[in-house]
Point group: C2
Chain length 236, copies 2
Amino acid sequence: MNSHVAHVEGPDLAALAGLLADCTRASFCLALLDGRAWTAIELARHAGVAASTATEHLNLLVAGGLLAQERQGRHRYVRLADPDTAELIETLASMAPRRAAPPCSLPAVSRSRALARARTCYDHLAGALGVAITKAMTDRGLLDWEQGLTLTGDGTAWLGELVIALPPAKRRPPVRSCLDWTERRPHLAGTVGAALCRHAFDSRWITQIGSSRAVALTDDGRLALRHHLGLTGDFT
Amino acid sequence: MNSHVAHVEGPDLAALAGLLADCTRASFCLALLDGRAWTAIELARHAGVAASTATEHLNLLVAGGLLAQERQGRHRYVRLADPDTAELIETLASMAPRRAAPPCSLPAVSRSRALARARTCYDHLAGALGVAITKAMTDRGLLDWEQGLTLTGDGTAWLGELVIALPPAKRRPPVRSCLDWTERRPHLAGTVGAALCRHAFDSRWITQIGSSRAVALTDDGRLALRHHLGLTGDFT
DNA sequence: AGGACTCTTCGGCACGCGCCGAAGGATCGC
DNA sequence: GCGATCCTTCGGCGCGTGCCGAAGAGTCCT
């Protein structure tokens, strides 16, 4: 990275951090936190740069192993390389300073309100809704925070009632806490968080708002959350 | 960071990553992972830059909240701001690419061997020794990896036998897995990892080698590890 | 075939950032 | 007090890097 030797053995921290040290590349990664694959031009428009610029950034991110790509016809789809990468970006984002500039236009305000209320975070739920679900699961003894975050026996049974199947345990932990940007409190991630989110979409408890990461709670969803978790909040 | 607007609300990922995106600053942070406070000139010499350059970097890192400083007479002591920061840097380091250049000189080789064998990692034990202890604790049922990493009842009792007291649970989890750079396998971090490391120093199971992060296992330490964990390895 | 669209390559520009050394302030030890 | 040491400030330099637009390759649709 620098011209200097830096003569150090060990991990090249600067190279990895350098990939995220650019506003445009960071903006790409945050956008990709929704877990979907984006085309190059979508990301370019999102970040407000020329397509050629986006190409260069994507080349760097892919070469650095943060992004995986897939070419389909004239499209170049990119997504975060794996859940580890997503968690790294989440962690970094939760520790990063907030940006100064407040969103002033009316549509921008309502958009950020919707995001703060309920959104996806890579493959699980975040925002006030995600935090509330996590809290309700804790209160009902489905999650335990005593020794780090764990799923209790009741929690396993509860997932069984909902007919939510978990993939066999591999590198990714079943439950993991992820610090929420807007609520500043933890919400549920890991394979259980992902499975729960997928179930919520499949059962139409929630629906995506437009093409953003924001989600809306349906009437079915409100009933289901009250029934399964005793959640009475509104989140509209 | 960039001249461009980047018009995005939310966390300023690039600003945080930018702090670590420089070889010299990264080298500082990795050095500080030993958990000690270093003076500005020590870090400058370590990274091979002028004192004035180190000052500028330290100003950035302190302003960015990654480092805490303390002035004592003519010395400026800096250390990592908190365990969260240390964990962030560990995580980043474990995902970063290895540096190409192999250490060739004889002292450099023996130094890196010593580091690979046993060293501190912020406030807990790492290297072959750290990984072996973690594995032994798992084999004896003191740690459980089923639902993320947890300390078992036996584990709590075992700590009691050793008269190792834990601080009251706060934000930092009691046990946490930290991926080892050299072994590529997890070792024990968190408050239990820290308490165990402190106990090992206090009981003279291990001693610091010179002023590096490398540690040497004493004869007492070898006996203790065999007695308490059934560990028979050498680690000299 | 032709137009629309996506992506890539290339040259060129400008700014930021990391580096240094010299000079000066602050503190310690003798 | 005096030199030694640690740190900081400042000016100056050069390279890297992020940006763009123009041109072109590849793909899809009609």
